[in-house]
């Protein structure tokens, strides 16, 4: 197997990393610019949307999940699903119990 690994470059071409790098830098600029606009509640939504896009690029390309095994993809998906349930439950508790009376 190691004889072949010289020819099989399992990692993507460095150009992909350059593209991801530039996209992430653009994301930082966009986030700062967006935070200076007055969008009301949408400020945090826009800023988070940019952050999730950046995180997605890193996970898919820098961390190679895009061409990773199905097991890894499912694990990551399941993790975020469980996190969503946990955070959702905590929020539900807060909203239904004491919202507005702190």
């Amino acid at each position: 197997m190691s004889e072949h690994s010289e020819h099989v470059q399992s990692t993507s071409s460095p150009l992909v990393y350059v593209a991801v790098y530039l996209a992430l830098l653009a994301g930082v600029g966009l986030t700062i610019a967006a935070s200076h606009l007055n969008l009301g509640v949408f400020n945090v939504i826009v800023v988070l949307a940019i952050a999730f896009t950046q995180a997605g690029l890193v996970v898919l390309y820098s961390m190679h999940l895009k061409r990773g095994s199905l097991l890894n993809k499912l694990s990551v998906g399941a993790c975020f699903f469980v996190l969503l349930i946990l955070v959702g439950m905590v929020l539900l508790d807060c909203v239904s119990r004491a919202w507005g009376s702190w």
């Binding site: 830098l25 986030t31 700062i32 935070s35 007055n38 952050a51 890193v58 990551v76």
Partner: protein, 209 residues
């Protein structure tokens, strides 16, 4: 490695949930607290960390391409960028300590009750907060120090491993076909980068317009 990182997602997920709830409860205090943080310093740190993530990705690529000197160079660059990031973080912490914005018995409400006394608050156009709201800024700084502190600790651990890898890479350990260690460490470093990608807008950029 993925399973370890997923436990880390849960760990930081908990911190972000606490942040989300308190931010909603004590929004004016979080705005005033956030205005005390420096966007140029936070932004520069974002650029540094993203660049170090890039050099780390290149390091993995060079390890697989069996280019030893390029691999060592990329690892050293990643390490140096990490040091600069922590240096800037240290300067920010120092400023917070000097202004008594570190939570605890010496915590000072001056910048929030009397914003005219603090040039940073004046520049942000902050209005004076009532006593009880001003006290909640301590909660913002507790979360700020807890979250950025945990993030910095992950970086310090990562840089320890990086130093070990630089040492091993110079001996040619990763350029003879066994690249898994470098690749898995890269995953960890990218994860630390992702945490900062969320920390920066959530802590530094609340209500900046």
């Amino acid at each position: 490695m993925w399973l370890f990182l997923l436990t880390e997602v849960m760990f930081f997920g908990g911190l972000f949930t606490v942040y989300m709830i308190y931010r909603n409860w004590y929004y004016p205090a979080f705005v005033a607290g956030s205005h005390q943080l420096s966007i140029p310093m936070g932004g520069l740190n974002s650029v540094l960390l993203i660049t170090s993530s890039f050099t780390m990705a290149l390091a993995v690529w060079f390890a697989e391409a069996r280019k030893k000197s390029a691999l060592v160079l990329c690892l050293i660059l990643t390490f140096v960028l990490g040091v600069v990031f922590l240096g800037i973080k240290g300067l920010e912490y120092k400023e917070k300590f000097e202004k008594h914005h570190f939570p605890g018995t010496h915590y000072s409400l001056q910048s929030f009750i009397n914003p005219a006394s603090d040039p940073v608050a004046v520049a942000a156009g902050d209005k004076a907060l009532p006593q009880d709201t001003a006290q909640r800024t301590e909660l913002f700084f507790s979360l700020y120090f807890a979250m950025t502190g945990m993030h910095a600790m992950h970086m310090i651990v990562g840089m320890g491993i990086l130093a070990f890898m630089i040492f091993r890479a110079r001996a040619g350990a990763y350029t003879a076909g066994h690249t898994q260690f470098v690749e898995y460490f890269g995953y960890y470093w990218h994860f630390v980068d992702i945490v900062w990608i969320f920390l920066f807008p959530l802590l530094y950029l609340i209500n900046r317009h």
